[in-house]
């Protein structure tokens, strides 16, 4: 088993981010889309912490701290919007919300 280098962490992070992005496009359920976004955020966190380790500072972790906070806020608001939308349309399929169509 090769030793994990910074490269491996970064590659892992890239893969995770791509998975999240794919999820945003592929899923037809709003909740799952939000979850995919969380995955993307986590990928970014991983990058920060990994680089942090190799630079010997703690700034990365602090940034992670903020990212998690912001993710929490965003999840809360996003879910509230989602609930409002659901009440309106009784569906969680993003294709159901096309009233801004030309």
């Amino acid at each position: 088993m090769p030793e994990p280098t910074l490269n491996s962490y970064l590659l892992l992070s890239a893969v995770l981010f791509a998975i999240g992005t794919a999820g945003v496009f592929l899923r037809r359920n709003l909740i799952t889309i939000l979850l995919s976004i969380e995955v993307m955020l986590n990928a970014v966190n991983l990058t920060f912490v990994a680089v942090d380790r190799f630079r010997g500072s703690v700034d990365g972790q602090i940034i992670v701290f903020f990212v998690i906070t912001v993710a929490a806020a965003e999840a809360a608001v996003g879910l509230a919007i989602l609930i409002a939308l659901f009440r309106h349309r009784e569906s969680l399929n993003p294709d159901a919300f096309t009233s801004l169509k030309w």
Binding site: M1, E3, P4, T5, L6, N7, Y9, L10, L11, A14, V15, L16, F17, A18, I19, G20, T21, A22, G23, V24, F25, L26, R27, R28, N29, I31, T32, L35, S36, E38, V39, N42, N45, V49, A50, D52, R53, F54, V58, D59, G60, Q61, I62, V64, F65, F66, I68, T69, A71, A72, A73, A76, V77, L79, A80, L82, I83, A84, F86, R87
Partner: protein
Amino acid sequence: MDAISFWAFAAILVIASVLVVGQRNPMHSVFLLIVSFAALSGLYVLLGAPFAAMIQVIVYVGAIMVLFLFVVMLLNTPTEEAPAGGPIRRMFGAGPRHFGAVLSGVFAVELALALRAASTTLPGTDRGTPTPTVYDIGVRLFHEYGFAFEATSVLILVAMVGAIVLARREAR
């Protein structure tokens, strides 16, 4: 020992994330995401960032995922309907979904290349560096990042109010 842990955690993380994206039932997706977060925490510990790991578990898993769970249960959503057509059509059908998937793949490659190119100059895992303690983090947080800290607390307040307003049932 570290190598094995790394690969194990990495494997769990990736598989769980793929399943999050692939599962049909949102409840299943949420649970799988929790699993991936756990794996991620493990990776943080391996990277010598115990504070980040604990924050991840407590806040992310304990609060955010619970919130997701509540919402999923509240909305009582049905499982996502299956797309029309046979398996081939489902896989290779036209439309933004599949284009998006392909594009994500491209993006993954791009990122990998980009990050890789930048990091050849950095050294590998250094076991000699002492792990930063919560004290260190705290000092930096409240000195250099004091303003951001306060701003974030305002942000949370705003989000709270916003969430309440948005999700409120309209008064009849």
